[in-house]
């Protein structure tokens, strides 16, 4: 089943390698950029869904508090709230699920392309779908004095290759920071909600994890991680979001989030509407939420 994704990806990457003057690093960078741009609408949808769920958190907290002894009513009230806000609690899952195999395919394509042992290469014989690409195997694996197929640690690579894991960590951190939706709770609201706490932990753990991966995996994969993170940083930055939203015509329709006073009787027309949701784009929703919080302070 995975071959349906891997094989076209490996073929495309190999083809790009051939048209880009056999520069595997350039091929990895452009290939990653292309895949990330193509999957951007899915990412935007997922972000939007996550943001709207985030905005509902204070209300959900209240409902949970109110119906803590009655599970049935709690579930009903939660569903009512979701329906009223036009939010599907699993709405972020589908785009995520679609992105997953694509990202895995991307990763694997790079992994296969950097094969440099007989055991790794034998698999490529069944993966290249365009005749004539076989003559490119094995691909050039030296870049700036580094062997792309080896980990960045000496002696298999020069000491300066260790900069790459550091770059992976730094870019992962920045991307994580930028990807976090603005917090909805203030210190006076008590401890941060579950989602916020999770996000905070991830911002610390993920860069370390990816730094560790970059140390153990090949230099070529570090190039991929860094490229992917830089694209993520651009995608999550307000400027990048605007450009990409315009590029994809991303005017997602979203129902306004109901006000906090409507728990008991969800009204068809909410009294307080977050202007950003009326505007409709994921990016403007985030920007407005930030603005709103500032006003509160």
């Amino acid at each position: 089943m995975w071959d349906l994704i891997f094989n076209p990806f490996v073929t495309l990457l190999t083809w790009m390698y051939s048209v880009l003057n056999r520069d595997i690093v350039l091929a990895i960078i452009i290939f990653t950029v292309l895949v990330r741009i193509i999957t951007y609408p899915l990412l935007a949808k997922q972000q939007q869904s996550a943001k709207r769920m985030q905005e509902l958190q204070p209300r959900l907290k209240k409902i949970q508090e109110k119906y803590k002894d009655d599970r049935e009513k709690l579930a009903q009230a939660q569903m009512d709230l979701y329906r009223e806000a036009g939010v599907n609690p699993f709405g972020g899952c589908l785009p995520l699920l679609i992105q997953f195999p694509i990202l895995i395919g991307l990763y694997q394509a790079i992994y296969f392309a950097l094969s440099n042992t007989p055991y790794q290469l034998v698999d490529l014989s069944e993966r290249l779908l365009i005749p004539g690409l076989d003559g490119l195997i094995p691909m050039q694996n030296m870049w700036l004095g580094m062997n792309l197929t080896q980990p960045p640690t000496p002696p298999v690579n020069p000491a300066y290759a260790l900069v790459l894991p550091l770059l992976v960590m730094a870019t992962t951190y920045v991307q994580m920071k930028l990807s976090q939706p603005p917090t909805t709770s203030t210190p006076s609201d008590g401890p941060p909600n579950q989602m916020e706490a999770t996000m905070r932990s991830m911002t610390t753990i993920m860069p370390i994890m990816f730094g560790f991966f970059a140390l153990s995996f090949s230099v070529g994969l570090s190039v991929y991680f860094i490229t992917s993170n830089v694209i993520g940083i651009v995608q999550y930055s307000p400027w990048g979001k605007n450009v990409l939203d315009r590029l994809f015509g991303g005017k997602a329709k979203a129902a306004p989030v109901p006000s906090e006073d409507d728990d008991d009787a969800p009204a068809p027309a909410p009294r307080r509407v977050i202007a950003a949701n009326a505007a409709g784009t994921a990016s403007s929703a985030g920007a407005t939420a930030r603005k709103k919080k500032k006003t509160r302070r």
Binding site: W2, Y107, S115, Y119, S125, G135, T198
Partner: protein, 401 residues
């Protein structure tokens, strides 16, 4: 507390997801190469040396069990408690040496084993121990067999060169540079060393001096992963370009045959025909004169990496699909197939073990009938023996590590 637990579980789920993405969520190949098998004679007994990853073992070809360690007089060696010792060499004890190539018989129960950790180990076969941990240092790993002449060893390196060493002193005689590594044994013919290279070329070096014999190496348009075959003044070599080339000793491509996928094995010549396998699962019989096809058969559902084993009536091949196939040598028709349990990937060359001659049923090591040894990348079926005669339903044996 509840919220905290849920938070932790969410975090765990996210981490697992990240891990799945980062590791590819699908089988990745992190190995180097596949196992090799080599029939050898030790103390007058037939044994099969099996080298794969960090372990080399000797097994008994009649039943697939580990061979006992014996001294020069054939007496079993035992540990302090009197328990018999078995023939195993663990590379972990020798600076994590890994083994993917056959050994070279140096005589007097000494074998030279090429290792992936940039060295050659001289192994005392009566002790299953190298004479030194350091071995003979090399500038790069070795994953292919060493070629030998009367006084010189020719070592193909995984990266960029072939090194010639004095057979007695192991002193370097010369180094011939190739643009990329050699993943197959060099071929020595009439004082010329032919080297198939990962850099898509076939090189010819003067075996004495290491000087290039041809003005330019022959471009094979794809990786050349197997040793060429020499026959009647011509070299036959396959490549990833889907071709088998017929090359004159002057370095000219005379003719070629187009297969359907990569050709990663040495063609086999039998009774005037070449037999070739490819990684689309095809087996071809080719006329070596003009490289025209005599027959072609899609035998396997996946690629066939090892070369065929050819007998008077049959062509036997083994595939990545985990099957062994018997084909008619005359027509190429598939006569029978045998499924290795759990269908492990077969990438190693097949080995034919002939029946004991003369037959001696009273000898417990007697081999009643010819066996084909198949090695897989699954250590639960590292070596499987099946009868050469496909009409015989007797299962041979299975050696697992």
């Amino acid at each position: 507390m509840n919220t905290r637990k849920r938070g932790l579980s969410s975090l765990l789920m996210v981490l697992v997801a990240v891990l799945l993405v980062a590791t590819g969520c699908a089988p990745t190949r992190i190995g180097v190469s596949w196992p090799v098998m080599q029939p050898i004679e030790l103390n007058g007994k037939l044994r099969v040396l099996v080298a794969y990853n960090q372990v080399v073992t000797l097994i008994q070809p009649h039943n697939g069990t580990l061979a006992r360690l014996e001294d020069a007089s054939g007496d079993p060696r035992t540990d302090e408690s009197g328990n018999p010792l078995f023939w195993t060499l663990d590379g972990h004890q020798y600076e994590n040496a890994q083994f993917f190539a056959r050994g070279l018989d140096l005589g007097e129960a000494l074998y030279l084993l090429p290792a992936y950790n940039n060295r050659l180990l001289t192994v005392d076969m009566l002790r299953a121990r190298p004479d030194s941990t350091a071995g003979i240092p090399l500038p790069a790993p070795v994953i292919a067999d060493v070629a030998v002449s009367e006084d010189t060893l020719y070592v193909p390196l995984k990266f960029g060169s072939v090194v010639a060493l004095d057979r007695d002193t192991y002193a370097e005689r010369w180094t011939a540079i190739t643009r990329d590594g050699a993943w197959s044994a060099p071929l020595l013919v009439d004082g010329v060393l032919y080297v198939s290279s990962v850099d898509h070329h076939l090189y010819a070096f003067d075996a004495e001096t290491g000087a290039a014999v041809w003005e330019e190496p022959v471009n094979l348009q794809g990786l050349a992963g197997a040793t060429p075959l020499y026959h009647d003044g011509f070299l036959y070599v396959g490549s990833y370009s889907h071709h088998v080339y017929k090359i004159s000793t002057a370095g000219e491509i005379v003719a070629s045959f187009k297969a359907n996928n990569w050709v990663w094995s040495t063609p086999v010549l039998y009774d005037g025909l070449l037999y070739v396998t490819d990684l689309s699962g095809y087996v071809f019989a080719i006329n070596p004169e003009d490289m025209t096809q005599v027959w072609a058969t899609k035998a396997a559902t996946r690629g066939i990496r090892p070369g065929p084993l050819v007998t008077e009536d049959m062509v036997v091949v083994a595939s990545r699909d985990g099957f062994v196939y018997w084909l008619s040598r005359q027509t190429g028709d598939v006569l029978d197939s045998y499924e290795i349990q759990s269908r492990p990937e077969i990438l190693s060359d097949l080995v034919l073990i002939p029946a004991s001659e003369p037959q001696d049923r009273s000898n417990p090591e007697n081999i009643d009938e010819p066996l084909i040894l198949v090695s897989t990348t699954n250590t639960a079926h590292l070596v499987v023996a099946v009868p050469l005669d496909y009409t015989n339903d007797n299962f041979g044996w299975n050696y697992s590590r």
